[in-house]
């Protein structure tokens, strides 16, 4: 650890705001959170990724410039796709959204080297409070792919409240965090009382943000061009990117001016005719365009207050977070609703990163003297599918019965009792869902398991206890117990999903590693590049992940073979991770860990040893079943 990370002895833990538009990383130095700037001195890293014509990965502001110049090779606002399994095509290669995010996080990680050196760094990464389980998981994976040990995923408004709470921990205050970012909207009510920061309620919309305003402006401009020239500029990839860029400028201009001029002499060339755009938009017109979204945010504000049993008068302070809160109309709506001016002592762009650093500091011990304690809430209800009586003797399946209701303080454990519906029923399928709809079909399925061995009895006579445990990391453990026989069955929802993907995680990580290694010095080595290209051609899109297992410039057939074998072995080991014998599952976990460590370090000898051990054991296990 270098001299900078003082307070000496604390683990290096950083806080990261992985935003739709910008990302940043912060840490605690001498009891105060600081944002770590890029080598060029910027505190905000635009969340844009570009793969240039020489296959170099470029992150940040230069990548943002590429959005217009090379729209097919650059990507922005990837956060909006997090949690989706649909790949994004970038420079002809397919990436999962979390892989793109991992590239952004890797860039942030490079800023940390001067402070922490190359050692393992733990990270607290923020997500919108209203992010779903899948989105949170994707975020955690992105962090791990970037080489962080992801200590905790925390909610953005909670982070912002922590940044505020560090300096206002005494006394009793109710604060409202209005977080309107690039892609998502969150609102939380937080009570700070004698150093305890208590999230009371949280609500939001994960598809509402500055990006929507930009695209609305793009439509507005496109309609103008279309009425004048009969050409829709949105059909042209480059013109579309240009309009998006113009839209962002309009938004910025209108934050301080009343009118913005839009000038683009050549938007695109259609059949040899240059298509231009020259118009003006007033602040009032812009507000009209985005009013429906703003109204929705206000409806959510009023919701979240009633969930916390508070009125606008009970709110002492309002914390504005996210770049979109710079829009004057947003500020005036909020101050009108609460009859007070909004808070501006913390930079709305940095509040989340600073707050994440505070959480990091609380975890590492660097802030333990502050006495700050935070309690957060579950953003969704979690429950099971049940049948409900429709009328005498008839049952309607597919109803959602919440066990942990939203805004319950976490960690928490909740139990409910259900019964069988049929006479003589001997098993039940416990299906776990997350959401607020009365019907499970409209909620998000988290997993399911079967509880068998119920003693046959009359319908409704054999009670079954279903218990949910939800911890700070958002891991839900669901179990069911037949009360009369004490037979218990359970699943850990998070683990179940993560286990299967151990092998694909490896592949992703290796693939990103190879992309990353394509720095300028590597491009000099023509041979290595050629080798990469050949592989890429051979395997096509997905296949190039194999080529990337070994860092470029260091490839050998033997290493390649070993890594391929490691992947196969990891897949073979996967079923044993959940083996009923704890001895076997424990051993399998250890093997996976060793294999992954050896593969990551590129230590071929260690990898060979780990593989030998795994193969021996696998042979033994397979033979005995």
């Amino acid at each position: 650890m270098s001299k900078d990370a003082e307070g000496a002895g604390f683990r290096p833990v950083v806080g990261i705001d992985l935003g739709t538009t910008n990302s940043s990383v912060a840490y605690i130095r001498e009891g105060t959170p600081y944002v770590i700037p890029s080598p060029e001195g910027d505190v905000l890293l635009p969340s844009c990724v570009l793969i240039d014509t020489q296959d170099r990965v470029i992150i940040g502001k230069h990548a943002r410039d590429g959005l217009v110049a090379m729209p097919d090779r650059s990507v922005a606002a990837i956060k909006r796709s997090m949690g989706s399994t649909a790949p994004v095509t970038l420079a002809g290669k397919k990436f999962l959204p979390e892989e793109i995010s991992a590239l952004i996080l890797k860039e942030l990680r490079s800023y940390l080297i001067p402070i922490f050196g190359e050692e393992d760094i733990e990270a607290v990464i923020t997500v919108p409070a209203y992010f779903s389980d899948a989105q949170r998981r994707a975020t955690k994976r992105a962090g791990e792919l970037a080489g962080f040990i992801v200590e905790r995923i925390i909610n953005e408004p909670t982070a912002a409240a922590l940044a505020y709470g560090l300096n206002h921990s005494q006394g009793h205050k109710n604060i409202l965090v209005y977080d309107l970012g690039g892609g998502t909207f969150d609102v939380s009510v937080v009570t700070v009382d004698q150093g305890v920061l208590e999230v009371r309620s949280s609500n939001g919309n994960r598809q509402l943000g500055g990006e929507d305003f930009d695209w609305r402006l793009v439509d507005w401009m496109a309609e103008r061009v279309q009425s004048q020239f009969g050409v829709d500029p949105r059909d042209n990839l480059r013109a579309r990117a240009l309009l998006k860029d113009l839209a962002e400028h309009i938004k910025w201009t209108l934050s301080s001016e009343n009118t913005a001029t839009v000038e683009s002499p050549v938007l695109l060339v259609d059949n040899g005719t240059p298509i231009m755009l020259s118009t003006e938009i007033t602040r009032k017109e812009f507000v009209q365009l985005i009013q429906p979204w703003l109204n929705e945010t206000m409806a959510l504000v009023s919701d979240v207050l009633s969930q916390a049993n508070l009125t606008p008068q009970d709110i002492h302070d309002i914390l504005m977070v996210g770049g979109s809160t710079r829009i004057p109309q947003v500020q005036s709506m909020i101050s009108e609703y609460f009859q007070q001016t909004v808070h501006s002592e913390i930079d709305p762009d940095l509040a989340v990163a600073l707050g994440a650093a505070v959480e990091a500091g609380l975890k590492s011990g660097a802030l333990s003297e502050s006495g700050l304690v935070v309690t957060d809430v579950a953003p969704f209800s979690m429950g099971i599918a049940v049948a409900e009586p429709l009328s005498a003797g008839r049952w309607g399946p597919g109803f959602f019965s919440p066990i942990i209701s939203r805004n319950t303080t976490i960690p928490c454990t909740r139990t409910t009792t259900v019964t069988t519906v049929d006479n003589g029923q001997t098993e039940v399928e416990v299906e776990v869902f997350q959401g607020e709809d009365r019907m499970v079909a409209n909620n998000f399925a988290l997993g399911s398991f079967r509880l068998t061995g119920i003693p046959p009895a009359m319908a409704g006579e054999e009670p079954i206890q279903v218990t949910f445990r939800y911890n700070l990391n958002g891991i839900l453990e669901a179990s069911a117990q037949i009360i009369s026989t004490k037979k218990t069955q359970k699943i850990v929802v998070h683990d179940g999903l993560e286990r299967q993907s151990a092998a694909s995680f490896q592949a992703s990580q290796a693939r990103l590693e190879s992309l990353w290694a394509h720095g300028p010095e590597v491009t000099e080595q023509e041979d290595a590049l050629d080798a990469f290209d050949t592989m890429e051609d051979e395997f096509g899109g997905e296949g190039d992940m194999l080529a990337g297992v070994v860092p470029a410039g260091n490839q050998s057939d033997a290493a390649n073979d070993l890594h391929q074998e490691a992947e196969i072995t990891l897949a073979d080991l996967a079923p044993y991770l959940s083996h009923r014998s704890p001895k076997i599952s424990g051993k399998a976990k250890l093997l996976v860990k060793n294999l992954e460590a050896a593969a990551n370090q590129g230590n071929l000898a260690a990898l060979q040893d780990a593989l030998d051990e795994a193969t021996d054991l696998l042979f033994e296990w397979e033979a005995s079943f």
């Binding site: 975890k363 009586p389 303080t409 019907m439 006579e461």
Partner: protein
């Protein structure tokens, strides 16, 4: 998986004195967890909670924190605190008690269940508990006590919708079913108080049970026209409802009435993810109607399908064919009424074929004709044939072979 089992009265088990509910063994009370006096005020409880959270944070001591938080959540809210105090006094949680009562009811140990239910209602009076008390009394034959308990339930019901729900649940355990329905109608007025599909369906069933299908239809169709975007479950019920009404076959206008009510609901649901299933269900019914030559039903289902897919050419063509069939059927009724056979014919057909399900088989007609030899016109006579040719050309063409056949095979006179 079931949530709340309804009562079952299927098994008889020997009556036994209830054993007292076992008091849950608790290491400590919520008060002891927080280390406050049972008379502590809200301020003290809050302060104590804040102090404890700093010692046992969710981060550092997650298990202990949960216990502290659990105690605080109960004691920081005046209502839950009062309930907790009462539960402590009675030694069992309300949830345990009501589960126990439910089990006893299911085992037909009504008297035992009743005493527990009364205990619950003393701790936390609620409409649901009083309804159960009323049902228990009614099972024991205590008419007056049952009525009193039910009146309490009605009084405690928070709104009209809940009252209707209570009345419907009560309907089968009261001797005066009709009075119950009258009360429902009084509260429901134009049925606008009925908001839930499940309740609407219960009422629908109730009306069918007392043989008032028209009211059944009316109450339910109001619900359909009010629902903004019906859910998939709504549609399951709607389809059942359509089936029931079609089966009951009220009168010739029924199909149009149903279609009028259901179409807007279909339009409102279009685009919902479950609509493909609903469409498939409708199409299945259309095919079934076609198979049994039930042309009016086939037209209705086709109309509903066309609402969702107005440009479906094949459907349009099919509808014309069904319409022909339906018109022929209707004309047949008309024609036969001209021969003063309508009453006998229609009642025969409705009895034996549900609703005009007859496929005009000559055998069926013969049967009718033979039973009614006193028709004013001798069937098959020249006058009849001429008359039908003029008045009902389409029917005439459809029936011609039969008409020609009638005189020879079953000439009544």
């Amino acid at each position: 998986m079931a949530k709340k089992p309804k009562q079952h009265h299927k098994t008889k088990k020997p009556q036994r004195r209830p054993s007292n509910p076992p008091a849950p063994v608790k290491a400590s009370t919520h008060y002891q967890v927080l280390g406050v006096d049972v008379k502590a005020d809200a301020e003290t409880i809050r302060q104590r909670y804040l102090d404890l959270v700093k010692l046992f944070s969710p981060e550092g001591e997650p298990e202990k924190f949960q216990v502290i938080r659990g105690a605080y959540e109960v004691l920081s809210n005046a209502q839950t605190r009062r309930q907790y105090d009462l539960e402590r006094f009675y030694g069992a949680s309300l949830q345990d008690l009501s589960a126990q009562a439910q089990m006893l009811m299911a085992k037909e140990r009504v008297q035992d269940a009743l005493s527990i239910l009364e205990k619950i209602s003393a701790i936390q009076p609620s409409a649901a508990t009083y309804l159960k008390i009323a049902q228990a009394h009614s099972q024991l034959g205590h008419v007056e006590a049952s009525d009193t308990a039910f009146a309490m339930a009605l009084e405690l019901a928070p709104d009209d919708a809940k009252k209707i729900e209570l009345l419907i649940n009560h309907a089968y355990s009261t001797p005066d079913l009709y009075e119950c329905i009258r009360q429902i109608e009084e509260i429901a007025q134009d049925y606008s108080a009925i908001k839930s599909t499940a309740i609407a369906q219960e009422l629908f069933d109730l009306y069918l049970d007392v043989d008032r299908p028209k009211d059944a239809m009316k109450s339910f169709s109001r619900l359909i026209s009010r629902r903004k975007i019906p859910t998939r479950h709504d549609w399951e019920v709607y389809l059942q409802w359509i089936d029931a009404m079609m089966y009951a076959g009220l009168d010739a206008e029924l199909s149009t009435t149903i279609a009028k009510r259901v179409k807007p609901a279909l339009l409102r649901s279009s685009g919902q993810p479950y609509m493909a299933e609903v469409t498939a269900e409708l199409d299945l019914r259309r095919n079934e109607a076609t198979t049994r030559k039930d042309w009016p039903d086939a037209v209705t289902y086709t109309d509903l399908l066309l609402t969702l897919d107005p440009s479906n050419h094949a459907l349009r063509t099919a509808r014309r064919r069904y319409m022909d069939g339906a018109i022929i059927l209707r004309q047949l009724v008309g024609a036969l009424s001209d021969f003063s056979l309508s009453n006998a014919f229609v009642s025969y057909l409705t009895e034996n074929y549900g609703k005009l399900h007859a496929n005009l088989s000559s055998a069926a007609l013969d049967e009718v004709l033979q039973e009614r030899p006193d028709a004013p016109f001798p069937l098959g006579s020249h006058e009849v044939v001429k008359y039908m040719e003029n008045q009902y050309p389409r029917l005439y063409r459809a029936l011609q072979p039969d008409l020609i056949r009638w005189p020879s095979e079953s000439a009544p006179r």
